[in-house]
Amino acid sequence: MADETNQIANDPLTQALLWENQKERASEPDASEPSLVVDVDGFEGPLDLLLALARSQKVDLAKISILALAEQYLSFIQEARRMRLELAADYLVMAAWLAYLKSRLLLPDIKDDEDELTGEELAASLAFRLRRLEAMRDAAARLMSRPRLGQDVFARGDPEPVVTIKHSSYVANLYDLLTAYASQRQRNSVTSVQVRKRTVWSLQEAKDLLVRMLGHVSDWTPIDDFLVEYFSTPDQRATVIASSFTASLEMVREGVLEVRQNGPFTPLFVRRASRQDGGGNHE
C-alpha cells in the first residue's frame, strides 16, 4: 500500500502532481525522462504510477496504447527490483495483472469462456480507470483554483449577529399569590411558637414542702394555707396545687399523712398521720 503520509517526493513528476502546483501541470513532464521515475514513494499506488507513465506518452488518454503502458510499467518494476527498492504488494499485483493483460493482448482471443473479458475489454477498463482518476484530479485542481472563501473572497469580517431578545412574561394567578402568602405565614407562625419553659414543681419538691410544714401542725389544716406563699403567678399556682395534691396522696399511701375533704370543690384538709399502720381515711 502506498504511504499517504509521505507525500513530498522530490522527483519533478510527482511535484507537478501535487495540488499546490496544479497550475504548473500544464507543462507536461518531459517524455524523455520517464526512466528518472524510480521513486515509488512518490506515487499513490500502482494506478497513480500508471497514470504518471501514461502521461509521459504525451497522448490523449483515450488513445493511449495500453500495451505500451503495460510494458513501461513492467520495465519500471524490473528496474526498481534491480535497484532493490522495496515495493508494496499492490505494485507487484498490478505488475502480474499487466503481464497477464499483455499476454491477452498479444495472443488471439480464446473463445472458450463467455464470461471472460477479452484483452481489449480489459485494456479499455484500465484506460477508463486511468481517465477517471485523471478526471478527478483535474476536478480537484479546478475546485482548488476557484476563488475560495477566506482566501480569495471574503465574507463580512465583523458580522453583526442577530441578537435574540427574550421577553419574559411571568404568569401567576391570585390563587398562587394567596396560597403563597397563607402558607408562608402559617409556616412562619408555626416555626415561631416557643414552648416557654414553665416553672414546674416536681413531686419531690412538693413532698419536701409538705413534710416540712406538717412538722409544725398536727391538726386538720387546709392544704392551701401551706401553699399560698408560693402562688406568685397563676401558672405557678396550678403546678403547685397539682404537685402538692399528688404528693399528698403519695404520703397518705405511705401512712405519714391524712387527707380530708368535706364535699366536692371544698378545701382540702391535711394533717400528720396519727397511726403508722397506713390506710388513710380520705374520701
Partner: protein
C-alpha cells in the same frame, strides 16, 4: 487605465477592505494598503456618499472606519422571543408579602418569611413589573421600601389593594388553618403612590451604593 477607472478601483479596494475587516480600520492602515496615488480623503467621502441612506452605512467609530447596519434597521438584527415563566415559590412568597405588607423593606420581608431574600428574587419581581421601589424608610440605614404597581392589580384582577382577602377570609377559604396565633399582625397594605409619613423619596444614586448597602 483611465483616471476614473483608477478612482473606481481605489474606491472598490477601500470598500472591500472595510467589508472584510473584523475590526474598524483607521486612516493610516487604510492609506498604507491603498496605492500611494489614491486620494484617501476623497475616497472616504465618496464611499460614505455611496452608502448614504442605504441599509448599511459607513461610520466613524472609536478607532477607525467600519460598515454598520443603519440605526433605523437595527430591529432586523433582533429576534424577539416571548417566553412565559412561572414565578418561583420564593418569588411568589416575596411578592405576596410585599402586597400585604407594603410598604415593606427587605428586612421586613425577611423577618416575615423567616429566611433571607436573595437579590435575584427581588430583581425578578422588579422585572415582572409587579413591584417597584417606593422610597426609603426613615429609619437607620434608610432601607428602600417596596410596594406593588398598578400592573400588579391589573394582572391579579384586583380593583384595589384593599381587595386582597384578609387573614380571616384566608382562613375561611381554607388557605390558613387556625394555628395562626391570635397575635399575628394583621397587615394593612398601602400602595398609595404618595409616600407615607415615614418614607423619604428615592434619590438618583439609588442603584449604586444602596444595592451594596442592602446586600449582606
Amino acid at each position: 487605465m483611465s483616471e476614473s477607472d483608477t478612482e473606481t478601483l481605489h474606491l472598490r479596494m477601500l470598500e472591500a477592505m472595510l467589508f472584510a475587516s473584523d475590526r474598524p480600520l483607521d486612516d493610516s492602515t487604510l492609506k498604507d494598503r491603498l496605492p500611494a496615488t489614491a486620494n484617501f480623503e476623497q475616497l472616504l467621502v465618496d464611499l460614505a456618499g455611496l452608502y448614504e441612506g442605504r441599509g448599511v452605512v459607513l461610520k466613524k467609530v472609536a478607532d477607525g472606519w467600519a460598515f454598520r447596519t443603519a440605526d433605523d434597521l437595527a430591529f432586523l438584527l433582533q429576534a424577539e422571543t416571548a417566553e412565559q415563566r412561572r414565578l418561583s415559590r420564593a418569588a411568589l412568597e416575596t411578592l405576596s408579602i410585599v402586597a400585604y405588607h407594603q410598604p415593606a423593606t427587605r428586612a421586613e420581608i425577611e423577618q416575615i418569611r423567616g429566611v433571607s431574600t436573595s437579590r435575584g428574587t427581588l430583581d425578578v419581581l422588579l422585572e415582572s413589573g409587579w413591584i417597584r421601589l417606593r422610597g426609603r424608610r426613615r429609619t437607620p440605614g434608610r432601607p428602600v421600601t417596596y410596594g406593588t404597581t398598578p400592573e400588579f392589580l391589573e394582572h391579579f384582577n384586583l380593583e384595589s389593594i384593599a381587595d386582597l382577602p384578609g387573614l380571616d377570609e384566608l382562613k375561611g377559604a381554607g388557605l390558613l388553618n387556625s394555628t395562626l396565633p391570635p397575635g399575628a399582625p394583621m397587615p394593612m397594605p398601602n400602595d398609595d403612590p404618595d409616600l407615607g409619613h415615614d418614607e423619604d423619596p428615592l434619590e438618583d444614586d439609588l442603584f449604586a451604593p444602596d444595592v451594596v448597602l442592602e446586600d449582606d
